[in-house]
Symmetry: C2
Subunit: 420 residues, 2 copies
């Protein structure tokens, strides 16, 4: 593809994009020409900017403590249900918004190990390619619980297959913890099949949905998943550090004990009673006072996703990553860049990762030019493509800028291997 | 005091109030004539309203992922240090902003029990008058840890004295967990003396500062406290559900293990390394991605407190609660209302609690008239007086409105026992 062809291709893809109208919903940054990091921190919408601007004068400052009765007390479950319906395929009463992803993972892993269904089992299956916080939480819980971690190494596509899981499942497996979309490679695991196999061996399954929710369809109820946790500041555009969500399948809730017994998860939070009793249903997985301010922005993206439809979002995500791969093959592979994401559309999430030892040095150049991919040490660039806010033109500008920066820092004279 | 006298007294106190100018810093609610619940949810400042309004367009949307490098990664420790300096008497490097109060309590209690200083000890001292979430967290930790809870019943002033603590301290006591200011009565414990006695018996002490921070001076370093946790949405005006802060004394940090091992507390968060190692210093007590949006508003109140000076804030707090008690004695005690807060200024925090069985019925009336105290079941009204934002006039309007509402719901013909 020549440069002109790429321009034309991007323009044609943008012109045919059924989600193009959603780009206007997002706050633009004047100096940013290609934001390819929506998989790490999504952009704010105008609606969220307005919601945040109105919050102190019109809601917090006007309603004051009455806001708890009027709206906030139920917000973690109401927004949770909305995430369930719009993004992760969960019927109401199973999803909550709460603490950070890390804290929710801790609570749900501990809760899973309390289930009578896995009594006497002492192994946890995980993979060495999972995001550090998942691995760190599991290391800590295993140590305090006397459990054994059974590690899977991701295959060459950077993901975990049902066969790999089957190979480590035993009658001692209590819990399998995996990411639906791998944070580094973007590999999409076959969650339904892995859940089926784990259940057949008597284990519970917890899915990390951080890199799925809002971009890759998730069907927790249909998969028969037991537990899940996910992030809201990536494709749900909740803002930096917005609280995460958790899912516990309805029939499991009342048999699980979560370790952080707080007033907001207790049977009668405002009775100030003498002893803790868990609330019925999913509320028992809450602990402290919900982060209301942090829950504001995600609500606007949930509205947009409901309007767009997650299948249409997924179709654009596939088209975006496919276009990115075309450009990478044309412009970066000839420079020695290696593609670290699956080429199979079905197994690829909403980001494309490319590796090159000189990428660390390109980052200051790229940032100074308003091109913002995500860098993962030691050598990975993730091109995160957020279907509601990213254009095909942005992908083109971004990959071309990476090519230029790489040429500059490696001293290559020009682009080798570009095809007409 | 006749009604006119009360009006004059309030006006004179407001005229002489050295903090009067700070009231203009807060967003007013048109319909609220007396907000007496700053001990539960503080009001927003205009500066915070602007900060929230600017955040999406100018910071999050403009800086995008670069915000983490430029500002957000260090924010939990930077704001923590500021809380330490301005509100709780802690030198830098010991205070962090993190999860909800409940989650921080859980992490710090678990961390305390991991200390070699209390190895072999298995008792935790707490009081039955503490806020439910403190008691609930401790019940849960005791159960999972096989520890025994040693309960203190608050004395008639609703607080815990050094003598009461001494009576339950043994060579098996690992940890003492108390509130500096009792959430219900407002009793201010003698934290320095209790800490001294606990240390003399070899125990660690964790102070809950939820009802102190920003209104009642705290001197964690001077007390020699080991650990503390506190709330930012009360007198620090962080907004509903803003993240809490934690304190771990410098010399303890590296010997404690906290259970929720997350990437943000790990030695090298962005190395994505294979195994968890805790970060040096106080950062190890962080777990997940910090709640940046939730940390915005509290920064403005910290600026105001630094400007005002906490001793001046405390002096006004004492004057406010003393005036409230005068009015209560005049207007409410004759109606059968009982004062449930200490009358000794030194032992009284920034709220006054009054009990009457009919208070539950007065609440809708009071709200409809723009008078908002805090109700605590079954029969308590807390009059929370936030020194930077509450006027003496507001206290008068509030107590008179409580009197009127109580007369209406109890059918009393008038105010008995009012003195000229």
């Amino acid at each position: 593809m020549t440069e002109n062809t790429a321009v034309d291709r991007a323009a044609a893809l943008d012109a045919a994009d059924p989600l193009a109208r959603f780009r206007a919903a997002f706050v633009a940054s004047d100096e940013v020409t290609a934001y390819l990091d929506g998989n790490s921190l999504g952009r704010p919408t105008h609606a969220s900017a307005e919601r945040l601007a109105r919050f102190a004068p019109d809601v917090w400052g006007a309603r004051l403590i009455r806001g708890w009765d009027e709206e906030w007390y139920d917000l973690p479950l109401r927004v949770g249900d909305r995430i369930g319906a719009v993004a992760v395929g969960a019927a109401p009463g199973q999803t909550f918004v709460g603490d950070s992803t890390t804290v929710i993972l801790y609570k749900l892993v501990r809760a899973a190990l309390s289930s009578p269904r896995v009594a006497g089992r002492d192994e946890i299956v995980l993979d060495s390619g999972n995001f550090p916080t998942d691995r760190f939480v599991l290391e800590g819980v295993a140590r305090e619980h006397g459990a054994t971690l059974r590690w899977i190494a991701p295959d060459r596509d950077g993901g975990v297959t049902p066969e790999q899981v089957s190979a480590v499942l035993t009658d001692r497996t209590a819990l399998v913890v995996l990411s639906h979309v791998a944070y580094r490679s973007g590999y999409v695991s076959d969650a339904a099949e892995i859940t089926r196999r784990a259940h057949a061996s008597g284990a519970l399954v917890l899915w990390d949905l951080c890199h799925s929710a809002g971009a890759v369809p998730v069907a927790l109820d249909a998969w028969g998943a037991d537990l899940a946790a996910g992030c809201t500041y990536k494709y749900l555009n909740g803002g930096p550090g917005s609280p995460a969500f958790g899912y516990v399948r309805a029939d499991l809730q009342d048999e699980l004990v979560q370790p952080i017994q707080g007033w907001m998860g207790s049977a009668e939070p405002f009775e100030m009673g003498p002893a803790y009793a868990p609330h019925a249903g999913v509320r028992r997985f809450l602990s402290g006072t919900p982060a209301i301010v942090g829950m504001l922005a995600m609500q606007d993206t949930l509205d947009l996703l409901a309007d767009a439809g997650l299948d249409v979002v997924r179709a654009k995500s596939v088209a975006l990553t496919r276009f990115a791969l075309e450009l990478v093959d044309d412009l970066l592979v000839p420079l020695g860049v290696r593609v670290a994401s699956p080429r199979d559309d079905e197994r690829r999430g909403s980001h494309v990762t490319v590796d090159h030892d000189a990428f660390a040095d390109t980052l200051p150049l790229l940032w100074s030019r308003g091109v913002i991919p995500d860098f993962r040490r030691p050598n990975g660039l993730r091109l995160g493509l957020s279907p509601l806010s990213t254009s095909f033109g942005e992908v083109r500008v971004g990959v071309e800028a990476v090519r230029d920066a790489l040429v500059e820092v490696t001293g290559e004279a020009g682009v080798r291997g570009a095809r007409p």
